[in-house]
């Protein structure tokens, strides 16, 4: 028998918990709406990118060994109105530095990378499905 915890349901309020990625980077412009603070797990990442109608952020996924590698970074485009959730923070290495946290940064290949596990519309982005979200 499992230990009982009272069943609970919480409404996820993205509107009051928007954070930016530290002011935007050269790849995504300077459209961050937040102050760069780390937000909780319920967060919409709302950044105006080159395409003003598209929310952009970068997701960084692990290689087969579970290591996060800058060279594997993918830029993901999300249409306005879609829900983005940050699941956990990770540490990745890029540009000779180690990055941990939600903030984005400019990687060695000119794209921004994102250290963390994220989900879009309730589906965690992984190497297997990242192509669905990649910028066209």
């Amino acid at each position: 028998m499992k230990k009982y915890v009272k069943p609970q349901t919480l409404r996820v309020d993205f509107s009051n918990n928007i954070c930016g990625g530290g002011g935007g980077d050269t790849d995504h412009g300077s459209g961050s709406t937040g102050n760069g603070n780390i937000c909780g797990v319920t967060t919409e990442f709302n950044v105006s990118g080159k395409e003003k109608t598209t929310y952009q952020f970068c997701y960084h996924y692990a290689d087969s060994n579970g290591n996060y590698s800058a060279s594997r970074g993918s830029v993901i485009c999300i249409k306005p109105g879609h829900g983005v959730r940050f699941i956990s923070q990770e540490t990745i290495n890029a540009d000779g530095k180690s990055y941990t946290g939600w903030g984005d940064f400019k990687g060695s290949n000119g794209l921004c990378h994102y250290a963390g596990r994220v989900a879009i519309d309730g589906v965690e982005v992984t190497r297997n499905n990242v192509s669905q979200y990649a910028c066209q």
């Binding site: 009272k6 349901t9 409404r11």
Partner: protein
């Protein structure tokens, strides 16, 4: 009562959220997070055409170490909330 099957429950890491996957975009004003107990019950009920509070009670009593009175009290709160949120529909 029955589950509103326009919505789906998805597990993300250790979290469970309910979203409406229909259409080109998700209405982010209607996303709900469930704890493990609520998600367990939701999944059980999703498989049923309809359900009663007695059936909900049985599901929880079979899975968790808890007394019936506590479960009934908690279920009343939960099911009322789910009705308000349109997660379940009362026929």
């Amino acid at each position: 009562m029955r589950i509103n099957k326009d919505l789906v429950l998805r597990q993300i890491g250790n979290e469970y959220i309910i979203i409406n996957p229909n259409g080109d975009s998700v209405n982010i004003s209607n996303v709900y997070s469930l704890n493990e107990t609520a998600a367990y019950l939701y999944n059980k009920l999703y498989a049923l055409e309809s359900f009663t509070i007695e059936e909900c009670t049985k599901f929880l009593l079979c899975e968790y170490d808890i007394d019936e009175d506590t479960v009934l009290t908690d279920l009343k709160d939960l099911l009322n909330q789910w009705k308000e949120l349109n997660l379940i529909i009362e026929d």
